[in-house]
């Protein structure tokens, strides 16, 4: 990655933290409502050694991972099906176009009514919300496969299933991977939202709720900070993996980085 870019990003973050701290110091806001930045950062550091928070973080992480796994399994299969059967795709397109823009958080109350099991509820909302980018990207990636590449394999006598597995899927893989990366971010949001709205016994969302009821705004913000940081790191790891795995794609599409 570009060194100067990283540096500029770091400078931006440092600048923001400094301004936030100054606002706190200036006494413009009551620090019972909005604690000083240094307090929040201190609390965040403290959470690393807090077994209660770690258990909650582990629970959210597990839900996130399970949800993402289910999403990939479901949405990629569905995408392969719709991407290879144009008629089925045409038939389902209006439905997809209608459902996709509904803010996913809005389905949580419905899920609360439908699921008695808290884990099932969280997984259901994650899968519902995170599937869209994977599904859409899989369909799009399959449409984008060079017909000549498929014809090449056909001309050597390979059947449709081989063509799908050996040409269509690898060539759609970079698009699918991007979809999964977007889905990962959505899964973090939905996991915590579901915890906040549906309650339960453990999770970062639960931790935040409890901190709020105890009037510990600093702990609330510290937990939120960790959630954001996790999303950021997950994204960066996936970007790096994509660059590595799909170098052929990035070279060809002119993505120079």
């Amino acid at each position: 990655m570009d060194y100067a870019r990283v540096l500029r990003g770091a400078a931006g973050v440092a600048g923001f933290l400094a301004v936030a701290e100054l606002v706190g110091l200036s006494g413009l806001v009551d620090d019972r409502f909005l604690p000083r930045m240094s307090t929040v950062l201190g609390a965040a550091t403290g959470l690393v050694a807090d077994p209660e928070f770690l258990a909650d973080a582990g629970a959210t992480l597990t839900v996130w991972a399970l949800g993402l796994l289910l999403t990939v399994a479901l949405a990629v299969s569905a995408g392969l099906l719709l991407g290879t059967l144009p008629r089925a795709e045409a038939a389902t397109r209006p439905l997809i176009e209608f459902l996709r823009p509904i803010p996913s958080v809005a389905v949580i109350p419905l899920a609360i009514l439908l699921f008695s099991d808290n884990l099932h509820l969280k997984l259901a909302v994650i899968v519902y919300a995170a599937s869209w980018p994977v599904l859409i990207n899989t369909i799009y990636g399959l449409k984008d496969v060079d017909p000549l590449a498929k014809e090449t394999l056909r001309s050597f006598g390979f059947g449709p299933v081989s063509v799908l597995a050996r040409v269509a899927l690898p060539s759609a893989a970079p698009f699918i991977a991007t979809g999964i990366r977007v889905a990962s971010g959505i899964a973090v949001i939905l996991a915590i939202s579901a915890e906040l709205m549906a309650g339960g016994s453990e999770g970062v969302g639960i931790y935040i709720t409890e901190a709020a009821s105890g009037g510990r705004v600093d702990l609330m913000l510290a937990a939120t900070l960790w959630a954001g940081l996790f999303g950021l790191v997950a994204d960066a790891v996936m970007v790096a993996a994509e660059r590595r795995l799909f170098r052929w794609h990035h070279v060809r599409t002119g993505g120079a980085r």
């Binding site: 000549l148 590449a149 090449t152 394999l153 001309s155 050597f156 006598g157 690898p170 052929w248």
Partner: protein, 263 residues
């Protein structure tokens, strides 16, 4: 082994092939020349079963071509799009060999041997997008050769390589045809080349294409880049094909007229 009768094809209302009839005997190398856009690639795709022609008949070994025939390989004109960018050159060449029931090691060895034949012995681990156009074109030739098809279709296979490599590849194709009994249909826009490699040269007219002439090139099988091209017969045939491609009528070359009368 290949017999084409009254092949007609239109894209929408645009008629490209206007009744092409042509037959190729087992082990023969037939060059096809014709003006740009006359339907040469369309002809080739029809033979390969990649498009369903609007009319006419194609039989391969007596059986009509309905889907892609077994034991056929194509070198596409758009060679760079026909290579898989997520695979190294060696893996590109080795992939079709799965159809031959070869194990991993055999595929690898066959791929390396084929790459060696086209002068890319050291480039097996390179990816297509790391290669020049000429190198990519040779990889796609190697892939077709490694497959050892009984029918090999080549669509302007030497367009992007330098003159020296081109001559080497022409001789390689001649060699493969002679020693492995592969039947080859080779499309080219290079008149010189069509005569040099061909047992026969088929000239197509402008679209809607029909066969303008079908010349037997009686130059024997052993050809030499320098000596053969200096032969009187070669020079005469080349002029003849050139005239035909430009839309002129058959001259007085005995060989060609006799073929035309025979048809």
């Amino acid at each position: 082994m290949l017999k084409i009768t009254d092949l007609v094809h239109s894209y929408g209302s645009h008629r490209v092939l206007g009744g092409v009839s042509l037959s190729v005997a087992e082990g023969e190398l037939v060059s096809v020349v014709g003006p740009s856009g006359c339907g040469k690639s369309t002809l080739l795709r029809s033979i390969a079963g990649l498009i369903r022609p609007s009319g006419g008949r194609i039989t391969l070994g007596g059986r009509p071509v309905e889907r892609t025939p077994d034991d056929l390989a194509i070198v596409f004109q758009d060679y760079s799009r026909s290579l898989f960018p997520w695979m190294s050159a060696a893996n590109n060449v080795a992939l079709p060999l799965r159809r031959k029931g070869m194990d991993r090691r055999q595929r690898r060895e066959a791929a390396m041997a084929a790459l060696d034949q086209v002068g890319l012995a050291d480039a097996g681990s390179k990816y297509p997008w790391e290669m020049s156009g000429g190198m990519q074109q040779r990889v796609s030739i190697a892939r077709a050769l490694a497959y050892r098809p009984s029918l090999l279709l080549m669509d302007e296979p030497f367009g992007s390589v330098d003159a020296q490599t081109r001559e080497d590849l022409e001789d390689l194709v001649l060699n493969v045809c002679a020693h492995h009994g592969i039947t080859i249909l080779l499309i080219t826009h290079d008149i010189d080349e069509s005569v040099y490699v061909g047992d026969r040269v088929v000239v197509l007219t402008r679209s809607p294409a029909v066969v303008a002439a079908d010349l037997v090139i009686g130059l024997g099988r052993t050809r030499d880049q320098i000596a053969t091209r200096q032969l009187d017969a070669f020079v005469r045939l080349r002029a003849e094909v050139g005239r035909l491609v430009r839309g002129g009528h058959t001259g007085h070359t005995t060989e060609s007229t006799s073929v035309l009368e025979k048809k």
